[in-house]
Symmetry: C2
Subunit: 349 residues, 2 copies
């Protein structure tokens, strides 16, 4: 009874989300700072209307996003997190059996979504430091996923590579900017220069709303109107729409937070290098780091015993790396101190 | 760039959802009564955690639903509304090109979802009073949708017809019980007796949470675990999970409301019949009614001018019917008074 493409696909495994426990949680790239009080207050007005359907078009939220991004209302699709946007993109532009291309080390959901849909994967090689150093030239691909900054490395894909990939693509290119708020550059200009580019954004990271599930697809209206048919007609509930609208309107607050995360990121990178880690530079709110004195898996497990969660991937190319989310300064101090104790149990910090 | 099956499908048009206006809203089958205060209070605990991802498995919500429905945790899938459940069912069990069967007059989303997926529709005839009076026997269908109570009529499909449809089906049968809370019977027992039956439930109607987007799929674990791969991994936000869990725990309150809706439904049906409407009996929170003295379209438009919204469908078989949601007693009094004035403008009510 089950489609073979579904039966053959292993379930996607999201990062661990312990509920109601006391971990220092540096494993799924959440923002360490909460939204400001006025954003939380935006929920109150929705409570007495919860018996009524939400606006199926998320109009106010999309208008707020469109103004912020400098595009028209009908160039913005709202999604139940950017995962919804990625899912809808595949279902709008890819027939089962078609090809979908993406780098061989990137957001692992692309692979799951492609397999579940019954489409075929073309993996494009990254170099020994996990960078894409050539454009993706793949005329048979109906969809190309380019995450920039690209997890788990956290670096922007070079502009000339993105440009050439877009120029050569015959299908749609999704530039997944989930982590862009922590970077100094973005590719929003591509949606005005090309009619086959979709920018994907999320409010889970930059806007501290992982718990509210809000993302956007931004592109030419011709793309967006077709994706709009495929999304669920009430894909964002009242609470998500209200809190996300208010958060987008709190630019000063969040820009301050992004700068703070960047500063802490520098401290984290230096602190890890000081303790003999190989650490890549990052433009995201996480760093990819490899301890030179212990296996990454053992480090992950040891930190977990000490109630510090970082991310360890069962992927052969990064088997000796952990991905660490940039937390608060205090959380990073505790992480670095724990690492120091692990390296030298006789130290008392 | 767009899949032909998507490009050729017209966009699904949900019922009108005027935001922030003063209509008496009897057009999209919302519950006229809000959830109790303690349910709304369940949101507060989520605010300070909104920066963190929700439980991707909606465990507490699903456990609460499983206990209520008398099934195991792993027999319940939580969806972003039951629309999400229907969507995931198609994508789990139907390959593009396969057949999906449903009655020729039912929830119109089935048609949209089937077309968007690139599958083929088999419509099964209902009789002149819009009832399914024979089982659906359709061995080529990979999925059968049976809504019971079935909109827009609002009546349960007879048990012997549901039973025979399930016995003969070679694919999965979805029994969509969106309106079941207002009825006196249900088909939950089918999920224990068959391994290819999925019950779909929503909290939008019975539990006054249309604005929160929560639904369930209930079936044997073998079905649910495959659907679980296809759903978005964070498909329910923190707010939806919390408020829905609390609502399921407030059975006494909601059972009182369902009884009240049934009483008002009887009054509405009698009041319409007294004013020369053909009205079908209903086991849902709406009635299908045809004025014998004016076209239904004109009645819909005239009521709309008077700030009363009912639903009019552009479907030839029900071109002279309106579907009216059971509101509060006061709302129904105002509706009946408005109808009396339309019939006889000299009446002063």
């Amino acid at each position: 009874m089950v489609r073979p493409c579904v039966a053959q696909t292993p379930a996607y495994v999201p990062g661990e989300q312990p509920q109601g426990s006391t971990f220092i949680k540096l494993n799924t790239n959440e923002n360490p700072y909460p939204p400001p009080a006025e954003v939380l207050a935006a929920l109150q007005g929705q409570l007495e209307q919860v018996r009524l359907y939400p606006d199926p078009n998320s109009t106010l939220l999309r208008k707020t996003a469109a103004d912020l991004y400098g595009v028209e209302l009908n160039q913005v699709l709202a999604g139940n997190g950017s995962d919804d946007i990625l899912n809808v993109a595949i279902r709008t532009f890819v027939d089962p059996g078609d090809r979908v291309a993406f780098p061989d080390l990137t957001y692992s959901l692309y692979e799951t979504l492609t397999n579940i849909h019954g489409a075929k994967i073309i993996q494009v090689a990254t170099n020994e430091t996990f960078e894409l150093d050539n454009p993706i030239i793949c005329p048979e691909a109906k969809l190309i996923f380019l995450a920039s900054p690209n997890p788990p490395l956290g670096q922007q894909i070079r502009r000339d590579i993105v440009e050439k990939t877009c120029q050569e693509a015959t299908g749609v290119v999704v530039i997944d900017e989930a982590y862009v708020d922590f970077s100094q550059s973005h590719y929003l200009d591509f949606v005005q220069r090309y009619d086959h580019i979709l920018i994907s954004r999320t409010m889970s990271k930059g806007y501290s709303l992982a718990g509210a599930r809000v993302g956007f697809g931004i592109g030419q209206e011709t793309l967006i109107q077709e994706m709009n048919k495929v999304r669920d007609s009430y894909n964002l509930d009242r609470f998500a729409q209200a809190i996300a609208t208010s958060a987008l309107q709190s630019q000063d607050y969040f820009q301050g937070i992004w700068e703070k995360v960047r500063q802490t990121r520098s401290r984290l990178i230096q602190g890890l290098r000081d303790q003999e880690f190989q650490v890549f530079d990052s433009e995201a709110n996480f760093v990819l780091a490899s301890p030179q004195w212990m296996s990454a898996k053992e480090l992950y497990e040891t930190l977990r015993e000490q109630k510090i969660l970082v991310r360890y991937f069962k992927h052969p190319r990064i088997a000796n790396f952990v991905r660490i989310t940039v937390g608060t300064d205090d959380e990073i101090d505790q992480l670095l101190a724990a690492i120091a104790r692990i390296r030298n149990p006789e130290i008392t910090v």
